[in-house]
Point group: C2
Chain length 296, copies 2
Amino acid sequence: MSDFAGWMHARKERLERALETVLPPATLSPTRLHEAMRYAVLGGGKRVRPLLAFAAGELASANPQRVERVAAAVELIHVYSLVHDDLPCMDDDVLRRGRPTCHVAFDEATALLVGDALQTLAFHLLAEQPLAQEAASHLDMIRLLATAAGSRGMAGGQAIDLESTGRELSLPELEIMHIHKTGELIRAATLLGARCGEGLSAGEIERLDRFSKFAGLAFQVIDDVLDAESDTATLGKTAGKDAHQNKPTYVSLLGASRARAFAGELRSQALQALDVFGERAQRLRELIDFIVLRIH
Amino acid sequence: MSDFAGWMHARKERLERALETVLPPATLSPTRLHEAMRYAVLGGGKRVRPLLAFAAGELASANPQRVERVAAAVELIHVYSLVHDDLPCMDDDVLRRGRPTCHVAFDEATALLVGDALQTLAFHLLAEQPLAQEAASHLDMIRLLATAAGSRGMAGGQAIDLESTGRELSLPELEIMHIHKTGELIRAATLLGARCGEGLSAGEIERLDRFSKFAGLAFQVIDDVLDAESDTATLGKTAGKDAHQNKPTYVSLLGASRARAFAGELRSQALQALDVFGERAQRLRELIDFIVLRIH
């Protein structure tokens, strides 16, 4: 087994090629929209969700082409949410992945359409065949992504976020917001990757589900810490935004040091959920460390 | 066969109930988002696309529950596009279906999320089973909707529209814009309705495809005429917007009278495409008249 950095690099390369292929070329009409879609998606990002899909897919001995498609679809949903989240009527942010946000580089109306079209593309991609042995299972996977992205998942988390700005949240309320806003899609990435294969039992899928929930929450806690402690150049997006916008975060509720400790606990629980897999879950273990120890 | 008005009323009722059921209740968290989704979708609209799906489905002797689902999914996509299209960064409109637009009744950020979540819900609904005898055909139907809605379909049409505002367009350029912006989804509604059944031959589907293309363009030509000639109270949306925004339309290119004549020609060609079906296509014939002769 190659080292983690090498594994990660290779998977990110494969994802990039998959995204390159699935995105319409910038020379195709409407060219400005296609150019903006490619600008928003390609050449940046930590790609945490796709990496989780790859690692879970490999654990389930899944067909690599299927996992690639699932990884790309989840990333398209993630990027659409970033593009819309950065719009003036939402977070009004100018910097993302170290570059001007989509509506700054292009314009607001184009960025709106970029997000819309990226979401459509994600479902288009996921409806290509075959993703699973059984058609019922394939449809189930499409619904899994839709549930994770929709009003009871990611979009719902954004709505809770809107309602929460400027309010005091309790720790459980904050957790509910983040389970929706980031957790659901991280969970979907992991489960969809695994479900591309037939290699895991229902019990093992259940352990993976548990892992993904802890991983998603740990990701968000660290995100809050980095927003508070890091600088804009390191993050590649505007730092200190949460405090500036008076958003409740794990740092505002717990302080940075206890938030870091909480992320550590979540990491332990995520690792524990992987025990059943032994050596086979090595990549997922490395990914949870990547999530918790990252500096941007 | 009952009269057309009765048929239409019954189908709109069924659609309304289907939408009522598929939309999350307004009491479910996040309540403001769910309330806004219901506000945007329920209790209004001509429902032309669903009616085309119903008529085509009945022509193909399709299972009514399947057709209902397809009709609702297409309408969700249509409403999401209206909600986003009305936003300040796009058409900046305050009136839709005789009521304040979603971002006026709620707020911009919520309207953005409403559109996003409605699109997700459309694909969720379309991935419920079974829609077709063959799984491959079901997946094909999901891709058909995605193609119609995406950057080479409806969203692409919006992008071409953005690029065209204030410019002179030739008649072919205008047609290309509208084929994308409205035509593709009207085509998808018709074909998806038909494909819920097994009753039509490939040749018959091809005729239906031809019909839907003429119907879609006729719909848009009449839309342009009504925007120029009707008043806001009758339309339930702001009249005279195209001229005000200096948008190229069939009226600005042809004048209202020649535009109406053009719609009449498109109607004739749509009807001709239906010849092969004889009496069985009566509802579709009535629908093309409904589209061309409507006053709002």
